[in-house]
Amino acid sequence: MTNHNLLVLFAHPSIDRSDVNAQLLQASRAAPGVTVVDLYGEYPTYQIDIDREQRRLLDHDVIIFMFPLYWYSTPSILKEWQDLVLEYGFAYGSQGSALHGKIFLCAISAGGSEQAYRREGYNHYTIRQLLQPLEQMAALCGMRYLPPFALFGSRTAAENGLLEAHVAKWQRTLQALREGRLDVRRAQALPRLDEHLDKLVGAAP
């Protein structure tokens, strides 16, 4: 069984002010078999190189959007990336099968608490519900969508001592994805990926 190649598309417009994402970025860079692309770093003027990005997609089996949640969605460059790179005939349409069968997931951080992302909370929707456009993007491109890997209360996570455990969990997730030991079918039914990681990661198939 060959290992999977992972692609992390990282979008954070002010990485120097980030606590959580900077650490996740560092952990991802250190993990074997993971290609990390700092989108704001590579395209500071938003001139995204479509060919290069499409090649990257072809070269990897697992596509990960990593970003802080901005207005219940991605930072703008990730939207720009979708608009430009996921072309008709490449990502979707009768000839567009380049992404079929790849795994897609979002690794996000949110400032609000977990309680806020509930029907009765002030954000009214769960995080998985809010990210439905991305879920449908994956569906249209024929990718297998995993629920988000999320950290809530990100502004205080570091001082509350939650960050270290979260980063360790992320490293474990990356490794399981790399080695194909994550139970994708089971995970797809869950609201979040990070909650029941123990049950999802098994021995090598």
């Binding site: 003027t45 995204i48 479509i50 608009d83 979707y92 349409g93 009768s94 099968s97 249209l140 297998r144």
Partner: protein
């Protein structure tokens, strides 16, 4: 004449052989000079008589060194370091001097002698320590910076010491002075304007001279240097610099003040002027040679007879002095919160006596403060402690550093390394904008320009810049190239810019060099020379103008921006190919036919890219945000995900 030439040759040869060997062994140049002196003096007996006379010439190197110290002392920098400088430096000098003096008293010395010895041994070796720091990359560590502020205080403290020491003169030594004081002393006295004046007149003359130095330096020095700079003759500038230093030193001697004090003041007065780096680079070689000469003569003057006779006394005194100095420094490090490796670095690096010790010892002997035989003995102690300094640095490297690395390996992340300055050569229309953007973001820049008029204009609009030719290595050195992080080449002369880039990449391979090209061919030459980043000066503004024209013609602004970006992208993609073709040009050809062919092809490519429809019937430049074709939903079948 022949005799002089032979002597000069012996001295120079000794230095040329001994200094590189010492540096290779990690001992530093000062020890190299000392060893050279020992070899040509007591060991081989090649020189002898003239060594003492030459030592006075060498002492002038110290005067020049203080001029350079003054030049380095911008008031602002001084203010930033004031706590460590006055507190730590003051306590170090005061504490050590008093401790040594107290021991001297216990050993039965007269209080004047004890105090004089204490002051002399409170100093450390700026030359050895700073040299070693920069060789080992310790200058920017907290310990290194603390040590620097102590050294700076010591260098400044030498000046009042030179004024104070004659007051400690022992009357009983006066009688035997002419024989004990050596050769140079009386020579100065003979030319003293103030000897016959009364006390108040003397004071007035002294005050007037200092005022003259400060005012003349401030109001006459700069116009004078400007005139000299305008002639464009380098040697004239050197002559003027030397005349300034020697003139000030002479004036001070005439009124009975320390020449070192005068040149130091002159240096401080000129520290903020645009000629600072040019002055430094002109005086620096003279200072280096004269100080080297001074150390050689010290080495040559070492009397092995004395050393052999008082072997154990000298070794004991050296060990005692170094332990005492180390203890004082260790206590101060704890008091000022300099901990761990930094505290050890401070303690070990400054435990020796310094080169000013030699100067003060011979000065004290001349002024009948110290008996000549004691001075002779103590200069051996100073020399020995300097010889031992490299050993202490080895102790630091081998024993101290590993211990702390094992204990606290995780401290690395929170110490942010301070960046060295960005050097900008050329402050015309281009360099100005670069500089303004950097300084607006609190990035330290050093700006150099060889047009004195341009430097003047910049200073009028408060851009701090320095006069000097950036293509001269000596000037680059004094401008701080050794710890610069980046170098921006924005000088107007195209060929010199290429030469400068080539030199920089050759002499400082780790320095990133960013260059401004005048046109396409200049860009290739710069790239050939090894520049890391090149921008053609008119390219981006012309592109902006192009997209402005498109907008004026009614093209939607966002579309115009996309067309501009597409144009730039295609050009960017072809840069390597064009450069390759240019490199293949024949002898004497400016560009080569192959290149021209490619260049016209490129134009064609851009044209096609802008106009041609792709298979999806969208122009290349509009790729992106491509809508799916009409009725595309008829052919969509959602793929089977599992």
């Amino acid at each position: 004449m022949t005799g002089y030439l032979i002597t000069a040759f012996i001295y120079l040869c000794a230095a040329v052989i001994a200094v590189p060997v010492a540096k290779r062994l990690g001992l530093g140049s000062v020890l190299g000079y000392l060893c050279a002196g020992v070899i040509i003096g007591p060991v081989l007996g090649l020189v002898g008589q003239e060594a003492a006379r030459l030592q006075h010439l060498g002492e002038f190197g110290v005067v020049m060194m203080l001029f350079l110290v003054g030049l380095e002392l911008e008031p602002r920098m001084l203010w930033q370091m004031r706590h460590r400088l006055l507190g730590l430096g003051g306590l170090q000098v005061g504490g050590t001097a008093l401790a040594v003096a107290a021991i001297g008293l216990l050993l039965g010395l007269a209080w004047q002698v004890a105090l004089c010895v204490g002051l002399i041994f409170s100093l450390s070796s700026t030359a050895i320590v700073l040299q070693t720091f920069s060789e080992k990359g310790l200058s920017r560590t907290p310990g290194g910076r603390t040590a620097f502020s102590v050294l700076l205080f010591q260098d400044i403290a030498v000046i009042p010491m030179l004024a104070l020491l004659p007051l400690l003169a022992l009357p009983e030594l006066g009688a035997s002075a002419p024989s004990a004081a050596g050769h140079g002393g009386e020579g100065h006295e003979a030319l003293n304007l103030v000897a016959h004046l009364q006390g108040w007149q003397h004071a007035a003359v002294v005050l007037a001279s200092v005022t003259v130095v400060v005012l003349a330096g401030h109001y006459l020095g700069r116009p004078l240097f400007r005139i000299v700079a305008d002639t464009g003759l380098r040697e004239l500038f050197t002559a003027t610099s030397l005349a300034l230093v020697i003139g000030v030193a002479a004036l001070m001697s005439l009124v009975g003040l320390s020449p070192a004090l005068g040149t130091f003041l002159a240096g401080v007065v000129l520290a903020n002027s645009e000629f600072r780096h040019e002055l430094e680079s002109n005086i620096e070689p003279f200072k280096g040679l004269l100080l080297g000469l001074f150390f050689i003569t010290v080495g040559a003057g070492i009397q092995f007879g004395v050393l052999a006779e008082h072997r154990w006394l000298i070794i004991g005194l050296t060990a005692g002095i170094m332990l005492l100095k180390g203890a004082v420094l260790w206590g101060l490090a704890a008091l000022f919160g300099v901990r761990g490796t930094d505290g050890w670095l401070l303690t070990l690096s400054l435990a020796q006596a310094g080169e000013f010790g030699f100067v003060l010892l011979s000065y004290s002997a001349q002024n009948q403060v110290l008996p000549a035989d004691l001075a002779q003995l103590l200069s051996l102690v100073v020399a020995l402690s300097m010889f031992l300094t490299p050993v202490l640095f080895i102790v630091f490297d081998r024993l101290v550093v590993p211990r702390y690395q094992r204990r606290g390996g995780e401290r690395e992340a929170d110490t942010i390394d301070e960046h060295g300055p960005v050097i900008i050569a050329g402050i015309g229309r281009f360099g100005q904008i670069v500089n303004r953007m950097l300084t607006a973001n609190d990035i330290r820049t050093v700006v150099l320009d060889r047009e004195i008029g341009q430097v003047d204009n910049m200073r009028k609009i408060r851009i701090k810049s320095f006069y000097g030719d950036a293509t001269r290595p000596a000037l680059l050195h004094t401008a701080g190239i050794d710890d610069a992080t980046l170098f921006v080449v924005a000088i107007d002369e195209a060929e010199q810019a290429v030469e400068l880039v080539r030199y920089l990449k050759h002499a400082h391979p780790h320095l990133r060099v960013l260059a401004r090209a005048r046109d396409r061919l200049h860009l290739y030459h710069l790239r050939d020379a090894g520049a890391d980043y090149i921008v053609a000066e008119t390219y981006h503004s012309a592109l902006n103008m192009g997209s402005a024209v498109l907008r004026e013609l009614g093209v939607h602004p966002f579309k115009a921006e996309q067309l501009r970006a597409a144009f730039e992208q295609i050009e960017q993609n072809s840069i390597d190919q064009l450069y390759g073709a240019w490199q293949q040009r024949g002898e004497g050809e400016r560009v080569g036919t192959n290149y021209l062919q490619l260049f016209f092809e490129l134009d064609g490519i851009i044209r096609q890219a802008m106009l041609r429809d792709r298979d999806d019937r969208h122009p290349r430049s509009a790729r992106g945000w491509t809508p799916p074709p009409r009725n595309y939903e008829e052919v969509i079948e959602l793929p089977d995900i599992d």
